[in-house]
C-alpha cells in the first residue's frame, strides 16, 4: 500500500515539472533573465537526483546506501548549478536596482 502511494506521489511530482516548464516557457517570452536555461538545467538535475533517490524505496521497499550517496551527488551538482544561477540573478538585479 505504502509503495503504491509512493509511486502515485512520485508520478505527480514528475508531472508537475512539465506544467512548470510550460509557465517557464511563457515567462522566457517576456522577461530577459539570460540564465533561464541554467536554472532549468539546475532544477532538472535536482529532479534527476530525486528520482534516483526514490527508486529503491519504490522497487526494493528500502533504502540502498550506495544509491542514496549517488543521488545526493547528483542533487549536489544540481544545487551547485542553481547556486550559480541565483547568485547571477542577484548580481544582475543589484546592478539594475542601482
Amino acid at each position: 500500500m505504502i509503495r503504491l502511494l509512493l509511486i502515485v506521489c512520485t508520478l505527480v511530482s514528475l508531472l508537475l515539472p512539465i506544467l512548470s516548464y510550460r509557465y517557464f516557457y511563457q515567462i522566457m517570452k517576456l522577461i530577459k533573465v539570460r540564465i533561464g536555461s541554467v536554472l532549468v538545467l539546475g532544477a532538472l538535475t535536482v529532479v534527476a537526483g530525486y528520482i534516483f533517490f526514490i527508486l529503491p524505496w519504490i522497487f526494493v521497499g528500502d533504502d540502498i546506501e550506495e544509491i542514496r550517496f549517488f543521488s545526493y551527488s547528483i542533487i549536489l551538482l544540481g544545487l551547485s548549478i542553481l547556486t550559480y544561477g541565483v547568485v547571477k540573478i542577484y548580481l544582475d538585479w543589484k546592478e539594475v536596482m542601482k
Binding site: V12, Y72, S73, T83, K94
Partner: protein, 585 residues
C-alpha cells in the same frame, strides 16, 4: 555512511546558501512571486534535515513518503510563483520593466501606448472603423505587427504579438509602428492644429523609458522638430522643399507631414546622418521662406523636446554636428563641459602625482628618523663599551695575559669600526639647515681636494693608481668645509675602490654660473644604467662590499647645501658630478 553524511551536509549548506541569496533578492526587490519562490526554497533545507533524521534512525518505509510530498509542495509553490510572475510582468510596467521585461517587449508596449493615445483622440472624430482600416493597411505593409488588433474597448492590443514572436527585431518593429503612428497622426492633423498635436506627443514621448528612447529619436527629430515648421509652409513652398530634399527613406506629404519610417532599415549612425542631411537641405530653403528666424524656430523645437530625448541627444555628441545657428548655446555648454572634464582629468593626474611624491617624502622622512634614532641609541652604550675596553687595555683593571690582550685588541678594532659606521649613519639624515648656515664659509676647492688627496693617497698608492687634478686656483665653494670635504672624500674613496690597479682618477673643477662644478672621473668598472640612481641610496652597495653609506652621505651633504650630485657611466668608467654654490675670487 560517512560519505552520505558529508554529502548531505554539503547539500544542506548549499540549500541554505541558495535560500539566503534568494532572500537578499527579495529584500532588494519585494514582489509577491519572490515570496512564493522563497517559501519553495525554504522547504529544501527542511527535506535535507529530515533526511538526516531518517537516515540516522533508519526509519521504516512510510517515512519515505515525506520526500515525494515535500517535492510536490515545492513544485506547486514554484508554479504559483511562476503564475504570479507572469501576471506581474503582464500588468506592471514601471519597475518590473527595468528589471525583467525584455527590451523588445518593452518597445512594443511603448509603441502601443503612443498609438493608443492617438487612437483615443481620433476614434471619436473619425470612428474606430477608419482606425482599424489604418491598422489593417499597416499590417499589410508590415506583417511583423500582425499580432496587433483593435480590441472591443477600441484600443490597440499587442499581447499576442509579445508572446508569439521569439525574438523581435527592434528595427523592423520601429519601422512598422512608425509607419502606423505616422498614418494616425496624419488623420489626427486633419482635425487638430499640428502644433497642438506636437505638444501632446512631446508629453507622451517624455513618458517613455530611457532604455528604449533611442528608437524614438528619429520620430522626435522629424515629427517634433521639423514637421511643425514644414506644416507652416504653403503648398508651393512644400513642393519646392520636396524637390530639394530628395533623401532616400524620408518623404514629405502634401500637407507637410514627414514620413521617415524606411530609415529604420539603415544603421543608427546612418539614420542620424539622414536627419542631418535632411536638415541641411531644408534649412537653406526654409531660410528663404522664413528668414533667419527659422534657426530660432528649429532651436526652440529642439529645446522643447522631452528630457529623455535630449539626454540621448547629448550623449552621442549629436549637437556638435548641427548646422551653425542651431542650439548654439548648448554647443558652448557642451564644449565647456568637455573642457572641464579634460581639466579635471589633468588635475586628477597632478594630484595623484603629488600624493605619490608626498608618500615617498613621508617614507624618506620616516627612514631618516629611524636611522637617526637607531644610531643615537647605539652610540650611547658603545661609548661605555669603548671606555671600559680602553681601561682594560691600559691594565687599569688588572693585569692581562697575552691571549686576553690579543682579543681585546680585536675588540677595540671592531669598536672603532662600529663607531665610524654609526658616525656615518648619523650624518645621513640630520644635516641641520640652521646650524649649517652658521658654519658656512668660503674656501678654495683646490685646497680642500688636496687635503682629501693627502688622506687618501696611501690607498691609491697601494693600488698603483694615478690621481690627476685640474682645478682653477681661485675657484671657491661656500658651505660647511668639514661636511663638504667628507662628501668629496667619500666620492673619491669610492672611485679608488672601484678602479682597478694602475687605473687613473681625475678630479676637475670649474665655474658653472653661480656654481662650482666638480667632476670626479675614473676608468674603473663602471656602473650599470639601472643602478645610477640607486647608488645614492643608504646601505646600497654594488658588490656587497662596504656598508653603502658613503655616497648617501655625499648626496645628503650636497643637497643640504642647495647643490646637486649625479653620476654618469657609459660601460667602462664612471663620472660623478657635484654642483655646489661657489665662484671665483
Amino acid at each position: 555512511m560517512t560519505g552520505v553524511i558529508i554529502i548531505l551536509t554539503i547539500n544542506l549548506l548549499l540549500s541554505f546558501f541558495i535560500f539566503s541569496i534568494a532572500f537578499k533578492v527579495y529584500r532588494m526587490y519585494r514582489r509577491t512571486y519572490l515570496i512564493w519562490f522563497l517559501i519553495a526554497l525554504s522547504i529544501v533545507p527542511v527535506i535535507f534535515i529530515y533526511s538526516f533524521i531518517e537516515f540516522s534512525l533508519n526509519l521504516p518505509i512510510y517515512a519515505s513518503l515525506f520526500y515525494p510530498i515535500g517535492i510536490i509542495i515545492i513544485e506547486i509553490l514554484v508554479i504559483i510563483a511562476q503564475k504570479s510572475l507572469i501576471s506581474s510582468v503582464r500588468t506592471e510596467e514601471g519597475e518590473e520593466y527595468k528589471i525583467l521585461l525584455r527590451e523588445d517587449v518593452a518597445l512594443i508596449r511603448a509603441f502601443k501606448k503612443l498609438s493608443n493615445y492617438i487612437i483615443g483622440k481620433i476614434s471619436s472624430l473619425i470612428g474606430i472603423e477608419n482606425v482599424k482600416r489604418v491598422l489593417e493597411g499597416s499590417i499589410e505593409k508590415y506583417p511583423i505587427i500582425a499580432g496587433c488588433y483593435i480590441g472591443i474597448d477600441e484600443r490597440l492590443k499587442t499581447k499576442p504579438m509579445e508572446e508569439d514572436i521569439d525574438e523581435i527585431q527592434e528595427e523592423k518593429l520601429s519601422e512598422a509602428f512608425s509607419y502606423f503612428i505616422t498614418k494616425l497622426i496624419e488623420l489626427y492633423a486633419t482635425f487638430v492644429p499640428y502644433e497642438k498635436i506636437a505638444e501632446e506627443l512631446r508629453i507622451e514621448i517624455g513618458k517613455i523609458d530611457r532604455r528604449i528612447i533611442k528608437w524614438f529619436i528619429p520620430f522626435s527629430f522629424f515629427k517634433l522638430v521639423m514637421e511643425p515648421i514644414l506644416r507652416e509652409c504653403r503648398t508651393e513652398e512644400l513642393r519646392e522643399i520636396r524637390i530639394v530634399t530628395d533623401i532616400e527613406g524620408v518623404s514629405i506629404t502634401k500637407k507637410g507631414g514627414i514620413e521617415f519610417h524606411p530609415i529604420f532599415g539603415y544603421r543608427e549612425k546612418q539614420r542620424e546622418e539622414k536627419f542631418l542631411s535632411f536638415l541641411e537641405r531644408t534649412r537653406h530653403i526654409l531660410e528663404r521662406f522664413f528668414g533667419e528666424s527659422v534657426y530660432d524656430k528649429i532651436t526652440e523645437n529642439f529645446r522643447k523636446l522631452p528630457n529623455n530625448v535630449k539626454e540621448e541627444m547629448y550623449r552621442y555628441d549629436f549637437i556638435k554636428k548641427l548646422p551653425k545657428g542651431i542650439l548654439e548655446e548648448e554647443k558652448i555648454t557642451l564644449m565647456s563641459r568637455e573642457r572641464l572634464i579634460e581639466e579635471l582629468a589633468e588635475r586628477k593626474k597632478k594630484l595623484e602625482e603629488a600624493y605619490r611624491r608626498l608618500t615617498e617624502a613621508k617614507f624618506d622622512k620616516m627612514k631618516s628618523t629611524f636611522i637617526d634614532i637607531i644610531a643615537h641609541e647605539l652610540k650611547t652604550p658603545l661609548t661605555a663599551i669603548k671606555t671600559y675596553t680602553d681601561l682594560l687595555r691600559k691594565e687599569k683593571l688588572g693585569k692581562l695575559n697575552k691571549i686576553q690582550r690579543e682579543k681585546l685588541e680585536k675588540m677595540a678594532k671592531n669598536i672603532e669600526r662600529l663607531t665610524k659606521l654609526i658616525d656615518d649613519m648619523l650624518q645621513i639624515p640630520s644635516v641641520d639647515i640652521k646650524e649649517l648656515e652658521l658654519r658656512k664659509e668660503k674656501f678654495y676647492v683646490k685646497e680642500a681636494i688636496q687635503s682629501i688627496i693627502t688622506e687618501t693617497e696611501e690607498m691609491a698608492r697601494e693600488k698603483k693608481q694615478k690621481i690627476n687634478i685640474n682645478i682653477e686656483d681661485s675657484l671657491t665653494i661656500e658651505g660647511d668645509r668639514k661636511l663638504i670635504e667628507k662628501a668629496l672624500k667619500n666620492i673619491i674613496l669610492n672611485a679608488i675602490k672601484y678602479t682597478h690597479e694602475k687605473g687613473i682618477i681625475s678630479i676637475e673643477a670649474k665655474k658653472d654660473g653661480s656654481f662650482a662644478h666638480l667632476i670626479i672621473k675614473d676608468n674603473g668598472k663602471g656602473i650599470p644604467p639601472s643602478e645610477l640612481e640607486k647608488i645614492f641610496e643608504p646601505f646600497y652597495t654594488r658588490d656587497g662590499g662596504g656598508v653603502g653609506l658613503g655616497l648617501a652621505i655625499a648626496k645628503n651633504v650636497v643637497e643640504s647645501h642647495g647643490g646637486k650630485i649625479w653620476a654618469e657611466s657609459k660601460g667602462k668608467g664612471s663620472t660623478f658630478h657635484v654642483l655646489l654654490k661657489g665662484g671665483i675670487i
